[in-house]
């Protein structure tokens, strides 16, 4: 197949854009510096399409589509921002803030939190919905890391990195609906996990203060998920 046959041209926010046929709307947009907010997406991990923040309008589609999993098509007309989409995104973000206990001022991730940053970027100045204040545990049994379920947004990045990159499958999700929790093994204390390799990848990819390194808890520690794509490329290179 020739290179041209693999190229699709489309418009994103009325800008002409070309992309490879196997790229998603999100990838095409980011390559052209068009910003679409995301939370569960992380380069280097599989997509789950769960946070719904990257929903965009595609002309002709009956529903809004998640940019992270929707492939580009020839002639596609994509709108990433409109009053309606922006309003939905803000409300979705409010739902995140209201469902658990995101107290930014006393959070270890304050200043380095993707959820907090999204609120700033999307202009969410307050939450219209009542906060739920669920009683959720903090597990500090691991010698180096802590999981604070109060800050968890259930993006499952930790679950994916642990299964897809580290291959340990220590992290999983239990329960369903609002009762869902990320767990290690059979919901055992993290420190007693028989599968955890203590590699810390889950901590680096966590977008909020749900997973953090104990030693840097008070230091507004920045996370470093940038290693992922490189790791992936290197591994794929080894396999070839």
């Amino acid at each position: 197949m020739s290179a041209e046959a693999n190229i699709r041209t489309l418009t994103i926010d009325e800008v002409d854009v070309s992309a490879r046929a196997d790229q998603t709307i999100l990838e095409a947009a980011r390559e052209h510096n068009i910003e679409i907010p995301t939370l569960c997406h992380l380069e280097g991990l599989s997509e789950v399409g769960a946070c719904r923040l990257c929903l965009v309008q595609v002309k002709g589609a009956r529903r809004l589509l998640p940019a992270c999993v929707t492939r580009v098509e020839e002639g596609m007309e994509v709108t990433t921002h409109s009053p309606r989409i922006d309003r939905y995104r803000t409300m979705v973000l409010e739902l995140f803030f209201a469902e658990r206990n995101h107290v930014c001022s006393v959070c270890v991730a304050n200043g380095n939190c993707e959820l907090q940053t999204l609120a700033l970027r999307l202009g969410m100045t307050h939450v219209e919905m009542p906060y739920q204040y669920p009683q959720l545990p903090v597990d500090a049994s691991h010698p180096r890391f802590t999981v604070d379920h109060n800050r968890c947004v259930l993006c499952t990045r930790c679950v994916r990195v642990c299964g897809e990159i580290e291959g340990a499958n220590t992290w999983g999700v239990m329960g369903r609906g609002a009762q869902s929790l990320v767990i290690t093994d059979l919901k055992e204390p993290w420190g007693e996990s028989e599968t955890c390799t203590s590699c810390g990848k889950c901590v680096q990819v966590c977008p909020t203060g749900a997973l953090f390194e104990k030693s840097r808890a008070g230091m507004r520690a920045q996370k470093h998920p940038e290693f992922l794509p490189y790791l992936r490329i290197m591994r794929e290179g080894e396999q070839q």
Binding site: R52, Y88, M129, L154, G175, R176, G177, A178
Partner: protein, 557 residues
């Protein structure tokens, strides 16, 4: 088995019948069994033997009118009895050939007149655990015809012509779905029968599986032939043990007769079916979640596309249809697509089975041609609302549907008419409510359902349903404000527009439809602190008693 053998078998099975002058069918579906219809059957058998009459007592599946169980059907006279007890057996046997036992006829006629049985044509007439009886009533004729005389394309053409649409809820054209999967290239393809009947208030799939399981198997086999699949799965709720048992027996019998397995009808067509048990998750009715569940995982949906037709079970092209959809397939091939499309409305063809329940005289299963009005079903077949109460609403479509008021009783039923009225066909639950039902409480009931059944993957559904549930609770408690009502409306819009799968996308429907037709009930709770139906326990109206209530209740924007 080839066509000749099938005909021979059918003839043999039919020949058995003249040996008997009378056939007494006893319903042994879940509803009647719970009223000990098994004892009725034993008593009838004993009496028949004592009387020495040529009478065959048969176990059958559901006869439809569960409210009048245990039910008995005497053939050839077509006499139906309801509320039959063991003690009635002697009288029934004695009456054979004479006048029916008048005291056992609870005016059943009105219920069956006006119905048109396609899916339920064998229900109540055959023993579900005897494949011969199914074959005697033209069973497997369609499969044999398809496999030996038709090309896969011709089969799909007939299904397309019939205008059959998915009976599980969405109403996607079945022929189109088959065609898509048939055209996708793939060495391995799968057929899945969705028997995860999760809609509370709907039980037609259970009934079909219990009463006529071979029909579903035949439909699946035809589909497999049409799309080129060799393996199928029936996903059944674990809550339906009788259906699972009868299906297991039916599969064994079909295999033994060579109607499943390899080289079906002496052709190269191979197909077999496994049962997979659901484990109590409504969301598994969603295609991609169901697939995840069959793969042994958490039943969480994933974004579509890719659709299962392209990438389904273990990544292979997969066809998923609901039980009732498959049950329609054999008759369509037997009588032709035109025959099917001659029934129903312009865009909704054939018949539909409804589960008529709630505050209605005659509860049970009905099968009617599409296009019948709600009034004809509820007041004609169902006999209207009992106890001299007033009809208030009918709920269709389960947790994804809506509540329609009296003004819509003359709506003629079709997929599109129900949607434009703010409800849905769904799988066919039809729950009638009278003036003792509070519509805000009903909306709250459905929201609680969606909240606990949400898989938790996407935030609008996971957290949005909780928020909506709490707002509805505040309204039923009489502490809500107009600001709460606005929030509720906003949430309905966002959750509907942004949720990942059908569960979340339709979760607001019961709220939206009740807001549309029964807004006055919401306002009565909010403004007058009063529940018009007298269901909600609203306090004294002095919110100052509790500090929390004070904060929530008094503020007007």
């Amino acid at each position: 088995m080839n066509a000749e053998e099938l005909q021979q078998l059918a003839a043999e099975a039919r020949d058995e019948r003249p040996q008997f002058d009378y056939e007494v069918n006893v319903c042994m579906g879940t509803g009647c069994l719970s009223q000990h219809s098994d004892r009725v059957k034993n008593a009838l058998e004993k009496e028949a033997e004592i009387s020495g009459r040529k009478c065959h007592v048969r176990r059958t599946g559901c006869m439809g009118l569960c409210a009048a169980g245990p039910m008995v059907l005497v053939e050839p006279a077509e006499t139906r009895y309801g509320h039959v007890h063991e003690g009635d057996a002697q009288e029934i046997v004695a009456s054979l050939g004479g006048d029916p036992v008048a005291r056992l006829d609870p005016q059943l006629r009105g219920y069956f007149e006006g119905q048109k049985h396609v899916v339920l044509e064998n229900s109540g007439h055959i023993d579900p655990e005897k494949i011969e009886e199914y074959i005697a009533r033209d069973g497997y004729e369609a499969l044999v015809k398809a496999v030996t005389e038709m090309s896969p394309g011709q089969v799909i053409e007939q299904i397309m012509k019939s205008g059959l649409r998915g009976r599980g809820g969405g109403g996607y054209p079945t022929g189109l779905k088959w065609d898509t999967v048939a055209k996708v290239k793939g060495a391995q393809k799968y057929v899945i029968c969705n028997g995860d009947e999760g809609d509370p208030g709907a039980f037609m799939d259970r009934s079909v599986l219990e009463s006529d399981p071979q029909r579903v198997i035949e439909g699946m086999a035809i589909a497999a032939y049409a799309i080129g699949a060799a393996k199928g799965y029936i996903y059944v709720r674990a809550e339906y043990p009788l259906a699972v048992q009868r299906l297991t027996v039916a599969l064994q019998q079909a295999r033994r007769r060579g109607l499943l397995g390899s080289g079906i009808c002496e052709t190269t067509f191979n197909f077999d079916i496994d049962i997979r048990l659901g484990a109590g998750a409504f969301v598994c009715g969603e295609e991609t979640a169901l697939i995840a569940s069959i793969e042994g995982k958490r039943g969480t949906p994933r974004p579509r596309p890719p659709y299962p037709a392209v990438s389904g079970l273990w990544g292979a092209p997969t066809l998923i249809n609901n039980v009732e959809t498959f049950a329609n397939v054999a008759p369509i091939l037997r009588h032709g697509g035109e025959w099917f499309s001659s029934m129903g409305t312009a865009r909704s063809k054939g018949t539909k089975v409804f589960a008529l329940t709630g505050k209605i005289q005659r509860t049970g299963l009905v099968e009617v041609p599409m296009g019948m009005t709600l009034r004809q079903i509820i007041f004609g077949i169902g006999g209207g609302v009992p106890d001299g109460r007033k009809f208030k609403a009918v709920q269709t479509g389960g947790p994804s549907g809506g509540c329609l008021p009296e003004e819509h009783l003359d709506l003629s039923i079709s997929y599109d008419a129900l949607i434009s009225a703010g409800s849905m066909m769904g799988s066919g639950g039809m729950i009638v409510m009278d003036d003792t039902s509070c519509m805000v409480s009903v909306a709250r009931f459905f929201m609680e359902f969606c909240m606990t059944e949400s898989c938790g993957k996407c935030v609008p559904c996971r957290a949005g349903t909780v928020q909506m549930y709490e707002l509805l609770t505040r309204i039923t408690k009489g502490v809500a404000t107009h600001r709460d009502l606005d929030r509720l409306t906003d949430l309905c819009e966002v959750v509907g527009a942004t949720s990942l799968c059908g569960l979340g996308q339709t979760a607001p429907n019961p709220v939206l439809s009740t807001l549309r037709y029964f807004r006055h009930e919401y306002l009565a709770h909010i403004d007058e602190k009063r529940c018009p139906a007298g269901v909600c326990e609203i306090g004294t109206g002095h919110p100052a008693d509790s500090a929390e209530v004070t904060v929530a209740g008094e503020v007007h924007v």
